[in-house]
């Protein structure tokens, strides 16, 4: 029963009856709705850097963790989960030292390397303090550019960086290797100066005399290893555990070629972080030298300090990559299997504490299953007492001692078998340190 006027309006087509929208009206409203575009067809994936671990030394590069912006906020001592670090350029190589970090980019710009963290031995170069122009910062809280004395700064590219206990190495493509930091054992490749003061030092040494171009630099705790294109290995630094592999237990201050079992062998990868070193040849053999107190080299010798490279006759298949930690070692074979040996939390539960012979970690712990049989480990990395494995799906698995939250799992307990770290992106590379880690990640879309 409508009022006469309303009914007349409807009949003339001037009024519209209200009611729930009909299907046709809904469909038309849907077709008329605007379409939003959030990503175009050529949208590129973004490269990001995530950091986690102990932050008080400034090694994570986030100043608000150490000195908060507001007075009432408390400093954050540990970052237990991955935290995004804003960088100006795409970071292609990162390295974690003992309380400091180096980030390097592949760019041709003048600023190629940034450093943050501990700088008491000028391992990050000279960072001029703003309060006193003559002194340098002892703790660098933000990624700060490191001024390298390059001849052609707008043409040379930095390929790789590496950090040890108190020294760092920067590898360039055409100007050799730059070393900085503590040199009390000759680890920077220059003559040891008695009573040298390393804090606030401007000295960055350049090393060019190798038999061919250097393609990889590795820092141990107080020694340095250089691998050249021809497959030879050079070493300098402290040798009391035989980690220089030169046949003696003395200090070496000039990079010297290694012989022993690797003489004439084409080495494709070298690795070290503590006092033990591993090298992988192109045929898949593993060679080791250095400290063997934790059974790292016990498969070939009973001595605890091995100062000449020895071949480790493991029957595990062709080895693709090796990584050395403080007390444990890890290798990755061509088939994608991961083997661990040494001492500590090795990744096979709390019962396996030490072994001299490599033990395989089952691939099902890295995400392999009947549903995804193609999942395999692509890279392995080692910190001082942690291990990290990257799969071909871009997932990061960590295990080992959770020193000051360096595993990034969000908990403070040790992890006895591989555990996935939740990172919002595909992890491309990870660098492990003593108590912090840095990862290079690409976003999903």
């Amino acid at each position: 029963a409508m009022a006469g006027a309303a009914r007349r309006l409807l009949r003339r087509g001037l009024g519209v009856a209200a009611g729930p929208p009909s299907t046709r009206q809904l469909r038309e409203a849907e077709e008329a709705a605007p379409v939003f575009q959030y990503a175009g067809k050529a949208a590129k994936r973004k490269d990001r850097v995530f950091v986690w671990g102990f932050s008080y030394s400034g090694a994570l590069g986030v100043p608000s963790f150490v000195k908060p912006d507001e007075g009432w906020k408390k400093p954050r001592r540990i970052q237990p989960t991955p935290y995004r670090l804003e960088t100006e350029e795409k970071i292609s190589s990162a390295a974690c030292g003992y309380g400091f970090t180096l980030l390097a980019s592949n760019t041709r710009d003048i600023t190629k390397v940034w450093g943050m963290g501990l700088n008491k031995d000028s391992q990050l170069g000279f960072q001029r303090s703003r309060r006193d122009q003559t002194k340098g910062y002892e703790y660098v809280l933000e990624p700060s550019p490191i001024p390298l004395p390059l001849e052609k700064p707008q043409q040379t590219r930095v390929l790789q960086v590496s950090c040890g206990r108190a020294h760092s190495l920067v590898l360039t493509d055409s100007e050799g290797v730059f070393t900085m930091g503590n040199n009390s054992y000759g680890q920077c490749g220059r003559k040891v100066v008695e009573d040298e003061i390393y804090s606030g030092s401007h000295l960055i040494h350049q090393l060019k005399e190798f038999d061919s171009r250097v393609v990889q630099v590795v820092c141990g705790q107080d020694h340095s290893l250089f691998r050249t294109k021809k497959g030879t290995v050079y070493a300098c630094g402290w040798g009391a555990d035989g980690q220089t592999g030169l046949g003696h237990y003395n200090i070496t201050s000039v990079p010297t070629k290694l012989h022993g079992d690797i003489a004439g062998v084409n080495i494709i990868q070298v690795s070290s972080y503590g006092d033990c070193c591993l090298a992988v040849s192109d045929e898949g053999d593993v060679f080791g030298w250095g400290n063997s107190e934790y059974l790292q080299l016990a498969s070939v010798t009973e001595t605890t300090q091995v100062n000449v490279p020895r071949h480790l006759p493991f029957k595990i298949g062709k080895v693709k990559e090796a990584a050395c930690g403080g007390t444990g070692n890890i290798v990755l074979t061509e088939e994608g299997n991961v083997f661990v040996w040494g001492y500590g939390i090795l990744g096979k539960g709390p019962n396996l504490i030490e072994t001299a012979v490599p033990e395989m970690i089952p691939p099902s712990l890295f995400g392999w299953s009947d549903f995804s049989p193609d999942t395999r480990v692509a890279h392995v990395r080692c910190g001082l007492s942690q291990f990290a494995a990257l799969t071909n799906r871009g997932e990061l698995f960590v295990w080992g001692k959770n020193l000051r939250g360096c595993l990034g799992t969000g908990r403070m307990e040790d992890q006895y078998f591989p555990w996935r770290v939740t990172v919002p992106g595909e992890v491309v590379d990870v660098a492990c340190g003593v108590d912090h880690m840095v990862s290079m990640v690409r976003s999903f879309t």
Partner: protein, 312 residues
Amino acid sequence: MAAAELAGVFAVYKPAGVAWGRVREAVETRLLRELNAAPGRAPRQQVRFLPASAPGGGGAVGLVAARLPVLADHPLVRGPRFKKLKIGAGHRLDVKASGVFVLGIGHGNKLLTDRYNCHLTRVYTVGGLFGKATDDFSETGNLVEKTTFDHITREKLERILAVIQGTNQKALLMYSNIDMKTQEAYELAVKGLIRPMGKSPPIITAVRCLQFALPEFQLEIHCLHETQQYLRKMVHEIGLELKSSAVCTQVRRIRDGVFTVDDALPRTQWNLQSIQEAIQSCQLKVETELEKTLGHGENSLLHQLGEGWRHS
């Protein structure tokens, strides 16, 4: 009689657009109709002495013995023999979803509780459509936004699915309440047997892309403790991750424990005969499954996970 013998667990295919309660009632009505249609006991006979006129002279009424059925046993007096059947439902399906729906009859309802305590995974086929987002994540909801989707490739979708699987893998280990520092936890993790045996939020154990043809795609999802609305929300979130939007067009359960789509009875077979055959054929499968998970033997999962779970 037949109702007491009818006991066990069987699966029915629930069509979309029907509430699960109606399906259960429809099966119950059909079974009751067939059970009541079967001829029952013959009515009791009684001997009645009926008056009948004597063949001799009038007035004298004699009694004739006659065998008559007792009126109290007449079907119109007694009513139908079976008025209700105890039919219980397993994991429920909401109105818009379809697929395998497990029902239990009589003593089989006890097996339903045991199946719930097994915490096994269920498999769904979920269909999605890129390009729009609605408020209840399905195609019939109110439109929220329309977006472009031509930048989506199968590779990007599979990357997102891999991440979903990885985070849910972690959730599986976390909610299973096992101490990560023990050797047993390591061994169970290697075998892939760690599972939450108590209450937990929905966890997805495996996802796979079956079909991909823009704007439509279809996923196969294995999950635990889920609801169908959670799966629709997951499709919506996949759309958001890919910088577009998606709605869920179809949720179909293809497996619930040991019952697959092949074991589920379609509507034409919701009768007594087929249900009895279905119960018979699935009985062995269900018992082995329960024994393997909840049994008292050495190999059962419950025994391996520890005594604490028996009471959860």
